[in-house]
Symmetry: C2
Amino acid sequence: MRAGERAYDTLRGEILDGVLGPGTVLQEVEQSVRLGVSRTPVREALRRLAADGLVEPTARGTIVTAISRADIVALYELREALEARAAGLAARRRADAPFLAIRDRLHDAPRLLAEGEAGLTRYFEIVDDLDRAIDEAAANPFLGSALRSVQLHSARIRRLSRHNPDRLRAAAGEHELIVDAIIAGDAELASHATHVHLHRSLTNALASAPDDDVAAPPGADDGSRVA
Amino acid sequence: MRAGERAYDTLRGEILDGVLGPGTVLQEVEQSVRLGVSRTPVREALRRLAADGLVEPTARGTIVTAISRADIVALYELREALEARAAGLAARRRADAPFLAIRDRLHDAPRLLAEGEAGLTRYFEIVDDLDRAIDEAAANPFLGSALRSVQLHSARIRRLSRHNPDRLRAAAGEHELIVDAIIAGDAELASHATHVHLHRSLTNALASAPDDDVAAPPGADDGSRVA
DNA sequence: GCGACGACTCATGTATACACGGACGCCGCC
DNA sequence: GGCGGCGTCCGTGTATACATGAGTCGTCGC
């Protein structure tokens, strides 16, 4: 695999996992040494991350962006516009098979959610597969590109609800309704059920979010932000 | 200004203007010589253009992407979701002043449209300013980012209606209605008026689009695709 | 003691040289 | 004559050296 690709995947994963918290300074030479490649692929990775909105260039290096409560609200506002539309399109243009399969898997979600970390990870795989199935069924490359962007940022704040079993169980039920609506070809219901799901997710995210920013606050030098 | 920035702006402008048509091969060394910089900033520019969706890497070089009729439909599908939402948000969150100014300028549009190329350019400046005002009033950075992406691709197909005065006059009227709705604080009307406008624009774009792709077809070696 | 100016330092921006890999064309064989 | 394999070439991927500019720290003057 190309070094630039690996550098991008590594850094992106670390930002999404919170290993590199908001405010962390990412300098090219520093990351070059750490990742064992030269500055060139690191530069490429940082540029891509900046285009994704995960980092932003500043005077003394590229820093990991923060996510404020206002950002969460704004993100969900966009998600609602995009995902409600995508769900409606998917209901009209679907192939049944993938959604039937996801419905079965979602039915097992409550059991998974009782199995600890591994179950959680598998649960989120189902949700991600649903997102992909809707994206594919919507059959719109521009919409798909926009969806991937919001899902990237959504993954960052997913950590807020990861260990909230009650919310996750409820979310699984909301997802089931969306899938049922798509299978039934009911575009309006799929769209509105998505709206409902996002509204509840947002409420939960805001309740779980710290006062200032997601992940560790930018001020503290707690070691999570060193290279 | 940075060389990478200039290279990006130059290439992007040439793609949007159709100077570099779909299928044009953009090789790094070749463009380095033409733009008078080294490969490094050209590489950066090509990566950014690829992220924008204006070019895509292939085996024998990066090529300018084509826009099929299906792409136009897909793009307008996304535009509708984004711009209708943005117009609605702008109606709720607006500051009146910029929209009052744009309304005045739009009122002069019919006169501008009779003044040839310079007038056309000024007309599109008004439309672009309206887009920016809505973006700013919506006060949502994620939505703004998505809007800039679709507006980038929209600019590519704008050439299809640029010399269709009847359509442009009608579009000016549709824009006025959107602005009026925003000023009146009527989110639903702003949203629906945007829907109407995009529906009509799409109809016109499809009627004006050649059978295969926008701009010159990828097969012909007509000189518009050399370096 | 405070403020401003200047030099130094460090990080990014750019250029270039080398490495690697695939694509195309040519040649030989079937 | 067509197909398959091999070699060459070309273009991107990576590493590195140099240029540039902004930020910071120290010092000097007021």
